[in-house]
Amino acid sequence: MTSPAAAPSVEPRVRRFGRLNLEVRQSIPRWQHALYVILSIVAGIAISAAILLVAGVNLGGMYEEFILLTFFDRLGLSSVLIESSPLILVGLSAAMAFRVNYWNIGIEGQFFWGAIGATFISIYDIGPPGLRLYIMFALACAGGFGWALVPAFLKVRLNVNEVISTLLFSYIAFQVVLNQVYGPWQDPHERFPHSIKFDPVEQLPKIGWEKVHLGLFVGVALVAVMWWLVERSRFGAYARLVGSNARMALAAGVPVALIVFLSAGLSGALSGAAGFVMAAGQEFRLTATMAAGYAFSGIVIAFLARNHPLGVLVVAILIGGLYTAGQSIKGFYGVPEALVQLLQAVIVLCVAASQFFVSYRLRLARE
């Protein structure tokens, strides 16, 4: 920082872009920040619409599929809520880890271990039927928790890059699932790679509106718990310090390694819970494809929700709408489901790009 007296004689420190200078903003008004993010989402939606046009869906069809039949239709809305249930949980999972700058990309692996835990209880009929679902839920969370702890341990002890290690753990978990669904747990009556169907007592009860099941309440309840944890508890305060500046947090006496370790484990437990909701609420069995896409969706939801639990709830429901519309479009227009993943990626890239306008200011160069 230069003193005011010396300012006129000092060249402004600027980055030249031809005739444009790039300046670092010291601060930005809230409304302006929000404006840039909203504009970037609008741009993302516009690009998505263009992709859909190329794929053969016209504008009227898009309005019908993404808005009318998804959010203003009984069947559509119930489907959105069903799709949202696991999405809320993977979104919370990613948000928990990202809050302490721990990049948990291995959500699918933890999701699978949740589903494996639930399926294990179901297959071996462990515990009284009345408590079966609770035991399944507990073991699912424990499975995700345990699977997430290994890369977390490697991170805090040895500083092993978690982006790649968590992902490698996902690939390994996937092979474990394949081993189970093609091997000892395969449904003997079918040739498909999935386990035997859960008994009715092992399925999440419906809440009485279309096919919406209790998984939605599990998601909403955990949003409330996570909100309390990050906003009201000592753990949340520590996690915020670690996320904003880990070295300063360490200097201030925060147990940084423990906070990162526990956040990563909690993230895994939430992914495991998502696996439980998927297994006990929708699939009623362990399948090889049940986790597909949930790692990226979790990342997208946490990123767009800025890691805030209430934001996760809102974004997860919107992404649930995207999933629902994606299935409908697949049926009517024959566009592959991969479209959903592509559109999520487009929107994230646009929002990531908008950070440029939030962090920097472009100015015409003065000669």
Partner: protein, 309 residues
Amino acid sequence: MLTFIVDWLAYTPIFATPLLLATLGLILNERAGVLNLGAEGLFLCGALAAVVAYLATGGSPWLGMAAALAAGAAVSVLFAFLVVTLRADQVVTGITIAFFGSGLTALLGGAWMNKAVGGFTAVKLGFLSELPVVGKIVFAQDPMVYLTIPIVYLVWRFLFRTMPGLRLRAVGENPQAADAAGVSVDFYRSLAVIAGGALCGAAGGYVALAGAKIWFEDMTQGRGWIAIVLVIFARWMPGRAAFGALLFGSIEALIPRIFAAGIPVPQYFLQMTPFVATLIVLIYAALYSRARGAAPGALGLPYVREDRR
């Protein structure tokens, strides 16, 4: 036993070549200070482009490879714009590019799925290929395998024996100093990202044209992520990358050989081995700081002249 080993080693280059091409590309990226986590997406784009070009042109593997290079470069232009020009977060953007590539190729690739692709065929180098043991392993590979050897040398020579290579490394090591010396940080980083991305695309093209000889969704099965770890294993050196790629290629080549030989090993546990080996490499690199110390100084950090940190 000898036939088993010869078969195994003869299949190794087909698995090692794509890993090597991608690792070289990622070394170019990271030497310029850009962490490219989108390699898996670039692999897939390259693979689909190669298959489409191959089938559309009536069976030219070289046009397929050219299309793969172009596809990798095209997606990398987008990545370079985001992380170099707009200074977007490299981790978020890289991960998203990986899933972008997977989504895009699955959307576009429907019509090309599960079609047989002739691709590259082995070239027998005259009497050399008739030599016992060595002949089958070294002198009867497809042309891309032979072509990759000079590429390793060229990348090394570019990085360590030319002025632009020195500038590229300076930009990745200390962009402030490079900038002060009059080197355009944005130019060299963009160039490195696009060239490296093209090599990743080529790697994907090779997987489709020589390895799998078919296209299906997410066909590269994590090889892009393995290549990212191989860069650490190679300590950002092209020569060591060749060694690492051969090592990992041999692990991958072993799996189908063991199935073919009918050795009773649980299939899915066997298929974990490349990922477990990658994990071991990651842990090893973290344990020994010599490997970690080789990382370019400004890896993963966007550069803004005004921003003093």
